[in-house]
């Protein structure tokens, strides 16, 4: 299991009004753990008023930049991104797990490939890392970037991208598509939809020469682009996705703990929710939540039944259970009421458990 390491903020600067680029230095000899691959992300944890939040942010640095840098765009109502944009300063300590993610392809200096990248808004962060690394390490490859933004003033890394165009003249091509700012060419205004991609493939992008496509942006944009790419003849192994943070919830509500002491000796009234349906039944206190659900013909998920794999994870909304073994859930999950149902026995006379959360 991955472990958290300390990182010191050595630089922090704004790229646009509501996004920062944070440079980090791993501490305590953890530098080797943070030897990332282009396109990977870091998962951070931070305590907000006693509640731990975890958020993942993509690395924007290239492999040859010699620094570890991430981009954080402020999300409306997002606790972590707001904090990073407003309160984070040089010298602060952050905690993150080593880089993860498979949003990359193997590079080889002999390759003469044509890569096509699509980025929506802050989805540029991992794509920028890929562009920088690829152009530096594959001298014969070229990269075309389609970069979607609301308007000119929300384009993250605008200057860096211009610099890259000059540095890799003829190998790096950028098409900015702006939702609300008009451009000389009509095609470059609006949203990047399936239709827009098809039009781009007609005159602007030689889709037949594309070896691999990278897409990072909000869900509807990714669907439209992927569909256009498939119709243009790319198969799924040639399309790499990274779904960025839009689906991450802002803050989790605290769980309500009703601590009623056990009254009846060995029976519990259990209400268990799975796939939107709730079943209520009485169960003995020496039976696990999982087994009770299975005995009541619920198709509850499980695999190892040994507290190791976490397939059977569920959330206790009311009442208390005792989890006799736990090798998979971390402290912050347990604090939020998550338990391994295969290892959990009810303690209170009533428990409410949800597999859908």
């Amino acid at each position: 299991m991955a472990r958290f390491h300390d990182l010191t903020v050595t630089d922090i600067k704004k790229t646009i009004r509501d996004a920062v680029v944070v440079t980090l230095r791993p501490e305590n000899g953890a530098a080797a753990d943070f030897d990332f691959t282009q396109g990977q992300y870091l998962t951070f944890r931070h305590d907000f008023d006693g509640e731990e939040l975890r958020r993942s942010y993509s690395i924007c640095a290239g492999k040859d930049d010699g620094v570890l840098q991430i981009g954080i765009k402020r999300v409306e109502g997002g606790a972590f991104s707001t904090w990073a944009n407003e309160d984070l300063k040089i010298g602060d300590r952050l905690q993150a797990m080593p880089p993860m993610g498979g949003f990359f392809t193997e590079l080889n200096s002999d390759n003469a490939n044509h890569y096509l990248g699509f980025a929506g808004g802050s989805g540029i962060t991992p794509v920028l890392s890929i562009i920088k690394t690829t152009l530096a390490r594959e001298p014969k490859s070229s990269f075309t970037l389609v970069y979607a933004n609301k308007g000119v003033n929300t384009i993250m890394f605008r200057e860096e991208i211009e610099d890259l165009k000059n540095l890799y003249l003829g190998r790096f091509n950028v098409i900015h598509v702006l939702e609300s700012d008009a451009q000389e060419i009509d095609l470059f205004t609006g949203l990047v939809t399936e239709e827009k991609c098809a039009q781009l493939f007609e005159h602007w992008i030689d889709i037949d020469s594309v070896d691999t496509a990278f897409i990072c942006g909000p869900e509807p944009m990714m669907l439209g682009i992927a569909s256009a790419l498939r119709k243009a003849g790319l198969d799924d192994s040639q399309i790499k996705f990274e779904l960025f943070a839009s689906a991450q919830p802002g803050r989790l509500a605290r769980k309500v703990v009703a601590k009623d002491a056990a009254k009846s000796a060995n029976m519990t009234s259990a209400a268990i929710t799975l796939d939107g349906a709730t079943q209520t039944f009485d169960m003995p206190k020496d039976v696990t939540i999982l087994d009770a659900a299975l005995e009541n013909a619920m198709d509850a998920p499980y695999a190892c039944k040994a507290g190791v794999c976490s397939t059977c994870r569920c959330r206790v909304l009311e009442g208390e259970v005792e989890m006799v073994a736990n090798h998979a859930l971390e402290d912050y999950e347990v604090e939020k009421g998550y338990v391994l149902s295969c290892q959990s026995f009810p303690l209170t006379d009533r428990v409410i458990v949800d597999f859908d959360q």
Binding site: T43, K150, V308
Partner: protein, 252 residues
């Protein structure tokens, strides 16, 4: 570009998920089950085959069997690492069950799993000697090929990538088995091999699951499944029957 959509709608429309941070809970559980089934089947398959290595009639056969054991273990590791990203304790997982454990040759368990691991039911039956192991490896290898073609399109991208890497390796295992059978037909005759085909055929066939799985629509909406069990089984039967007939055997 702040337009958002529900992750369930995104998946139903063919969307792809890329890391544990934004998978919905029920999706997480179904992908974990699928991964556990694969890992347990590979570990149980490799463990069963390991016992057979020394029964190989020649050094080539023993090398082939050892390679299969190594690569199946390696394939289990690839998928177990993805389970680790979801929080599974991978070291403990690899040892939480005696993977060599088997039931009796005639145990009547249908497609049901044991209580303690998620291996496909077929991996609960013991192998009986070299020829039997090779036949099982051919039939199951072809079944794994059909299943991996399906799962290489799964909506969890890291797993789809892993299965795409694993598929050609597993395909090679079935080829090695076919080559082995070709030699065994000459040295031992077809009769004992046909007996093994007859034994394994219905058991491998059962590993495709029930034809009327109520779960299928849910899994399809999540992008975890595409093709119905019955269609996958049919493809396996048709492909494998041809291979057997080329080897002078017939399907069970």
């Amino acid at each position: 570009m702040n337009d958002q959509m529900k992750i369930e709608d995104y998946l139903a429309q063919g969307g792809v998920l890329t890391n544990p941070a934004n998978v919905p809970p029920r999706y997480r559980a179904e992908v974990m089950k699928l991964m556990a089934t694969f890992v347990d089947s590979e570990l149980a398959g490799a463990a069963g085959f390991a016992d057979i290595i020394n029964q190989g009639p020649g050094i080539k056969e023993r090398i082939a069997a050892a390679k299969i054991v190594l690569e199946k273990t390696d394939n289990a590791d690839r998928v177990l690492r993805i389970m680790g990203e979801f929080g599974a304790d991978t070291d403990r997982y690899a040892n939480h069950h005696p993977w060599t454990a088997r039931l009796g040759r005639d145990a009547d368990i249908g497609a049901s799993r044991s209580d303690h691991d998620m291996r496909l039911a077929v991996f609960n039956y013991p192998l009986q000697g070299w020829a039997d192991a090779v036949v099982m490896n051919l039939l199951m290898g072809r079944a794994v090929g059909v299943q991996l073609a399906e799962f290489s399109l799964i909506s969890y991208q890291p797993l789809a990538d892993a299965f795409r890497k694993i598929a050609p390796i597993e395909a090679r295992h079935a080829e090695l088995a076919a080559e082995g059978i070709e030699r065994l037909v000459v040295s031992e005759g077809a009769a004992p091999l046909q007996a093994s085909v007859d034994y394994w055929w219905p058991r491998v066939s059962a590993s495709f699951g029930s034809d009327s799985s109520a779960k299928f629509d849910t899994l399809k909406a999540m992008g975890i499944r595409r093709t119905a069990n019955a269609d996958l089984r049919q493809r396996w039967e048709a492909e494998t029957a041809v291979i057997l007939s080329d080897l002078g055997l017939k399907k069970g």
